[in-house]
Symmetry: C2
Subunit: 427 residues, 2 copies
């Protein structure tokens, strides 16, 4: 089915600011709350939020097979579960509805009043009920940097890393949308040279710059999906900040991996940008040497050219960009991650989310965490207000942005922004 929604010649009758992440060629999906306390599935064009539930009730999706309440829901899970054909039909239809040449909704003020909201008048929600959340570790630069600092500089990359898209399970209950603040966690840490741990607020809160993809129903238990067939199961992507408490992590993570150091919060951008919208930005990833095992081998371009950046904004100061990276640096592709995840028959459901792992580029200014940017605290990052950071301070806001850009179109993610608050105090 042609993805007519990607037509670069189409303009919308809704105003789209220059350099907006959300031209009519994007059409991401999300869930928002209106001032009337209605929760609905929606999309975004320019700085307008569009109520897909209202559009459906007004018959704008006629001819597309959808359950009656498909968009009058507080999650996208059912829509995502319907599969790629439905996603395309709906996205193509939305493009038609908002096409500058199409008068049907454009000239119907009554309908527009119930369908279109200013972004500032809605509150973005978590777009999916995430059943299971997996976080991968697929940047060779990040894995190498961490290995150099924490383990052996001479053998920074562990022997399995070049063969396996290493991943582990994260916590779904603390995944939150952009805008929700995070409390500095307490935890056990062991100071250098000590033998007895202490309990208290973490002293080294870090971000990790990641993206994540959201799947539809992939398989039944026991079934594995060939790598060449995985892409059809990926609905879209978001930006992800994998908040990390490095001092807690260091003490707890052997032998079963990070746990409390990570599960206090994971922030994601609220609009899921579809793989269809990202299609024009498909690119090849790094050469994989040694050649992966056959179940992970793929030909062609399976990465995406997505510019990423991280800024730190102290309270009452301007943000300073501290890292610029790109998704295309990732060694393992999303298709390989998903093929690996199902290779043992592990069931993957609609709304499951898989994080990329920290996206570090080849140069020090492209590293995706404070741990790497400051090289373990040795080189503090300077902010524009004159202060320095080894890690994130209380009341700092961490802002991650991402966008694809070519000569014709810009497809962006908006941002995931989250403020670090002091430790939680019970009221």
């Amino acid at each position: 089915m042609p993805i007519t929604a990607n037509d670069i010649n189409r303009k919308s009758w809704l105003e789209v600011p220059k350099n907006s992440d959300f031209p009519i060629q994007n059409i991401p999906f999300g869930v928002f709350l209106t001032k009337e306390n209605v929760v609905t599935v929606g999309t975004r064009i320019g700085d307008f939020a569009i109520d897909l539930g209202a559009l459906q009730q007004l018959n704008y999706f006629e001819g597309i097979e959808l359950t009656d309440d498909m968009f009058m829901q507080d999650t996208l899970n059912d829509f995502i579960s319907d599969g790629q054909k439905t996603w395309r039909l709906v996205r193509n239809r939305i493009a038609e509805i908002f096409d500058a040449e199409n008068p049907v909704l454009r000239d119907n003020t009554k309908h527009k009043d119930v369908v279109i909201f200013k972004m500032e008048d809605v509150e973005m929600q978590l777009p999916v009920l995430i059943g299971d959340y997996t976080d991968f570790y697929s940047s060779k630069e990040h894995a190498t940097n961490v290995g150099k600092m924490f383990r052996d500089p001479e053998n920074a990359l562990l022997p399995n890393w070049l063969h396996i898209p290493v991943g582990y399970h994260g916590r779904s209950s603390t995944i939150i949308p952009s805008g929700i603040p995070v409390h500095r966690p307490l935890g056990q840490t062991l100071a250098a040279g000590e033998t007895n741990p202490v309990f208290g607020p973490s002293k080294s809160i870090d971000f990790e710059l990641e993206t994540a993809f959201i799947t539809t129903d992939v398989n039944i238990m026991g079934e594995s999906i060939p790598v060449d067939e995985t892409e059809q199961y990926i609905f879209g992507m978001v930006l992800l900040n994998d908040w990390s408490a490095r001092d807690i992590q260091k003490w707890e993570y052997v032998p079963l991996g990070p746990f409390l150091a990570k599960n206090f919060a994971t922030s994601i951008s609220p609009w899921i940008v579809t793989m269809d919208a990202l299609e024009p930005f498909r690119t090849a990833g790094p050469t994989q040497e040694p050649t992966p095992l056959p179940y992970l081998q793929q030909k062609g371009k399976h990465s995406f050219d997505i510019n990423l950046e991280v800024a730190i904004q102290p309270e009452k100061a301007e943000p300073t960009i501290v890292s610029k990276s790109n998704f295309k640096y990732m060694y393992w592709t999303m298709s390989q991650q998903l093929a690996h995840h199902t290779s043992n028959g592990c069931r993957v459901n609609s709304g499951d989310m898989m994080g990329s792992g920290t996206i570090s580029g080849p140069t020090p200014d492209s590293y995706g965490s404070m741990l790497e940017l400051t090289w373990g605290g040795k080189n503090p990052v300077k902010l524009s207000d004159g202060t320095e950071r080894k890690f994130i301070n209380d009341n700092d806001t961490v802002i991650m942005k991402g966008f694809c850009q070519n000569d014709e179109v810009r497809i962006g993610f908006g941002e995931v922004s989250s403020k670090l608050l002091p430790p939680f105090v019970k009221k």
Copy 2:
């Protein structure tokens, strides 16, 4: 509120076989499917399944505040979310309804026909929608045994183990109830002495004897729960078989922990035995030395005396018991696990499940996995049909049972039984 359901002098008008795990003092909760394809929340007395949805519709829960469809659901999440007071009111009421001296339901054949089913006529379902699944690693004997085999025999226990109830996140999507078979997973493994991994069926499928507890809504994000307050949030316990592929685990688990080696399947017993029913079997766990940090310190008895056993049943042969252990050997208690889990503010919801970790006792016949029972394959286990096992063969069924017993009453879990099938073949 008194737990009158625990009255040891009460007898039921329903027949309870001698040594049944389900006397009227148990009253566990589960979800079952009837032959009429109705899914309902239920309980069990003797070999009868009792439809709590039907009981509610017939007004047997009058006077207890419950939403109208509390038991006409396919999960226990809403009931568990209602909290300890409701659990006790309902359990006490069920005990009254089935008390030998109470004629109301006993003498109402019409009602009995729609409420009571033979166990053989119902199909047990997964009792809860498990949002997040955490698996701990809280048996000192197990951690020591694994450390001796895989790491350093002289320093088997890692430095953090005596300070932290070590745990990690598991996969919710592949948690299945007793009776559902499991396919032998494929995966990457590295043979001894080789440098290149291969992909194929795992050659070392193991069980891990565990229990798990199910929580109600525990906290909001950021909030930690003092160890002395955690027990009220624990609804009940099940038996758990943490299926493991040892060869996959060995190659993949550094540095982020087990992933595909575990997430192909986790089997649980279908009846959740309430903490109230287990109350008479409260006992002290092992002495904790060094003294844990204050947030993990507790006084009194916080473990439970639960007898556990594992049997392997080859196809067309009798089961052989290969391990007898007891929950009371666990070093860290469930209250400590839950206090630790929330110590960083990680949110825990109704229906979340936390596994104990492999429950190995002090003697070789009480070890909770084939890895330990055979000491890494050196001492195969002999079965009653004359065959030997280093690990689990295709078409073997692994059966775990658990029960508490004193002079007055036996409270049991029934079993978690699951057959290992050959690798999945797409039809």
